[in-house]
Symmetry: D2
């Protein structure tokens, strides 16, 4: 594929700074980057379903197809997954190569900049639709890009009152723009008490944990109603101490780990939501730079403003 636009993920920041995880997982030289939109440039032998000129994006997790999770219908948690942009060359380049089975043909109604972020949007859709959400109250703890997207997705899918928690005033503002009904700052408000007060002293039906912070996780589980569903996507940097007894066991809660996107149920649902114009993601897009300006792009993201920065390679307009 000739890359038309690539987008930077939080993982890419870790790689850029070559932290401990990166040093242990990646084997340079390697082109990183795993969020993009492009056009098929040329196809290999045996490729029958794509032709040059078609506009595509891709699921960059390549599942093995034969481990137990794969055979159990859960390739998104394949034990032998290879991630393009981490384990093999990715998309921060003019061209990227992806196996046919991982390519996703784009509907003409989906614009390039939305197509370039279908990887993280898929995380959000996967989280929201991992259980029923229509008519249910929702809590979103943490309003980074995926948290923000999950707000838009949950509202588009008929959720009831959506409570978001976020410390940064800028992100809190974005959360409101994405559709959150109530945005709370856990440094200023007892968010659990507030949510309970607005939910018949019960708590939210669904928690989408997007912060990865110990506080966000604990607040989130505490604001969940008995019998509720918690979907955890935020990445904690170390083990977290959880009041399992009161927040999970006595509540009869269901806690789901969310990783990647379901292949390809999530893609089908996400494509429909985008094609139908159900999601306004414009508030998320912060800047559009040339690929050569990557240093500036990473710097922008490090300043902590939620949002997606697009990188446009030479050769793409």
């Amino acid at each position: 594929m000739r890359v038309r636009a690539a987008s930077i993920c939080g993982t890419d920041l870790h790689i850029y700074h070559w932290d401990r995880w990166s040093a242990s997982r990646l084997h340079p030289p390697l082109t990183f980057g795993h969020e993009f939109c492009g056009v098929v440039e040329t196809v290999g032998e045996g490729v029958t379903r794509f032709s040059p000129g078609e506009r595509v994006t891709a699921e960059m997790h390549v599942a093995c197809g034969h481990c137990r999770p794969c055979r159990a219908g859960q390739p998104h948690v394949c034990q032998n997954v290879r991630v393009l942009g981490i384990d093999e060359d990715g998309c921060f380049a003019e061209f990227v190569s992806v196996p046919q089975g991982n390519l996703w043909k784009l509907d003409p109604a989906i614009p390039d900049h939305y197509a370039a972020i279908m990887d993280p949007l898929g995380n959000a859709v996967h989280s929201v639709l991992a259980g029923p959400v229509a008519g249910f109250t929702v809590g979103v703890t943490g309003c980074g890009p995926i948290g923000l997207m999950s707000i838009a997705v949950a509202k588009a899918c008929g959720c009831s009152t959506l409570f978001a928690t976020e410390i940064s005033p800028h992100r809190a503002k974005l959360a409101r723009e994405m559709g959150a009904d109530v945005v709370l700052n856990p440094k200023e408000t007892d968010v659990v008490a507030r949510v309970r007060a607005e939910t018949e002293d019960s708590g939210v039906d669904v928690l989408l944990e997007m912060s990865g912070s110990p506080g966000g996780i604990r607040d989130g589980l505490r604001m969940l109603r008995p019998g509720g569903r918690a979907s955890l996507l935020g990445i904690p940097s170390e083990p977290v101490t959880v009041d399992l007894l009161n927040d999970v066991i006595f509540k009869g809660a269901t806690v789901q780990g969310i990783y990647g996107r379901r292949m390809f149920e999530t893609w089908l649902q996400m494509s429909a939501l985008l094609r139908d114009g159900r999601l306004n993601l414009e508030p998320l897009f912060k800047e559009r730079l040339r690929l050569g300006e990557f240093a500036q792009a990473f710097q922008l993201l490090e300043q902590g403003a939620a949002g997606k920065v697009l990188l446009i390679p030479n050769g793409a307009e």
Copy 2:
């Protein structure tokens, strides 16, 4: 009901010792005990479905019927639950009174001593059948009475290789008698490595966490395969530090808190399993004493031997 046999739960040990939890929750004078089998002695006004002489047991959690979990079809996690034997008078007595809606008529094929432990057996059945188990490998961490019962239930429901972990040699022996295929001592064996080695380096499909200990919970989650289901029933005495990232999130695991028994799906399934003779629970029964010998009964249980002690009131043979 005239009580024919009552059984002692771990909760009753806490009450007997009047620990902090008991002192804060119970309001004496109160008759405790919530596991029993009895015979209807007399019925109140408005009772239409039971008559004197019928043999019964009871779900001792009385749900309110109108909180959000109750209305959402989850009365087992009712926010306003009153537990007979904790919040109101229970069954360590000659007679116990139970609302009609909580009584459970007993099939003649179910003997008294099995009927007297349907409360904890229901915990086990609820845990095992909270997801698919037939043809799936199962891990049981902790072989107290409910852990032991869950072994019998899982095997009766077609599970594949069942790995149990237990430190006490006596309980380990009971685990084998209940049907465990492999019983491991976590003090002697790297149980996670061993389970992975025997499951194509994947882990168990289903974890039943019955220990409540931090080590049991951590080992359990680590031995779960990606995409697996963990049902947590064991009661941790304090918050637990969990590697959420690797053991839940990246695995795409589903972790369920298990509390009580589903009203009354669990009761229907449990009754069928008992009536059909699918469960051999005999190894669990340790002793049968008169109600007046309660001190001896509690002492026996404190010695840590898993198993159920029955108390027989005067007036019952």
Copy 3:
């Protein structure tokens, strides 16, 4: 309850004409009618959760609570159900009496005329949310009142392209107003071919069968994709000949019978959708008459125009 507004159901038309079904099921003298909104006038002994003056509607199916479906968590298909307005006095009157457990407190944001049709709206919500719908294509066969409501509900819950079939031009127009993307007349169009052509030759992910007609059922099942979900709510007047092999078995389809509303999951979801202003049902409301003008009301409905006619008792404004 003092009735503020009642609404006429299709079932009431059968009763009004005293057809064979009515003659066999109802035992006059009886007040019929089961869709209403009212205000608590007085409460009986033992009623603790409602007080005079509260605005309410009701689930008019009174489940027994102890048959096997009830105990299995499915009181909406209770074997011993008594329906107020059919088996006992209903709401075509100034006052109606309902057991406390069946009353539903109304959020102030829900207007009376919407509250008066929560019974059939609940049928629609139950049908739509009997499986996943967000991002999925939907077919609705038959655009009577419940079909029309189900269009609004499905769109509010994030469904993708919604195909409706309807013969009547008036109802077809209403279907578009409720949000259908494509409305097809099966007398003029090969609806199955058309739906397949617009769904990658696959068919809709979800069918909501609302016609009860043999043709609607057959078209609906034929337009369902392999692996799809069909929810049947329309009431066929006699047995229907179905190509089970090609339309159900080889497709691996899931076909659900829909009856009543889930108690009370559906009510929770429906209340949220209404309170949040997610549903515009105005196009459905046809006329508002005094209770004494019932003859005129029934006549209007017999003319076949979809829509709800409200009856306002004396004493209500």
Copy 4:
């Protein structure tokens, strides 16, 4: 693969007699047959997971991987499926070629004759485990080979009372040997009345329809309890008239079409059940003939005795 044993399916009888369906679907010359056990003889380029000498069987439905059902996680109802033995060469031969992704490595504990019938056994396992079955009553209408296998599977997975219906005395006897608790002849008994009488006037929780006959389907749906699950696998030869209103809609029943086997959840579960010795299928095996004696084999099956006939090619012992 070098074929060690092949088995004859009902479909093969249709092909053998070259009926209308066969003439329209198959394009000779073609080797038919799709149930077998064999040993890898040689592997093609790109095959990395299998080596000569390994014992295998195969899923003979080759899914396309990119149609909507495939992408939705339902490759068992792939719209573009190619079936080996129907659309391409199958296993009634000394050698058969199968794509790597469809091969299934056999555990040493699974004997050849069981391995040779994993295709139809997979149909049975798919049917039984398409919903909960432990502690539930089950009806099996029709005791051909797959019906008989489903009896063994349901009992191995903890089902409660299992009612089977069958006209042939020989098959009825086999049904009892496979574990059916009650076997009824619908020509002699009112099977619906009888089942209801033994299930608290409710009906079975789960129906496994294995006859494909209009009578079996109708009896089956009528004996299903409200809220029950019906899995239809039997192949009706023409459209069937069903009382949808009373037997599906008012009951709130879930009716599932069952086709093939889930890829590869069913295979995982089935392999575990076989490896663990949970299924005694010996009563099913009728005869073992040389491949050259195929005429005799087909004749045997036409005589209507349920059971599997194995064909052993030359070169296999």
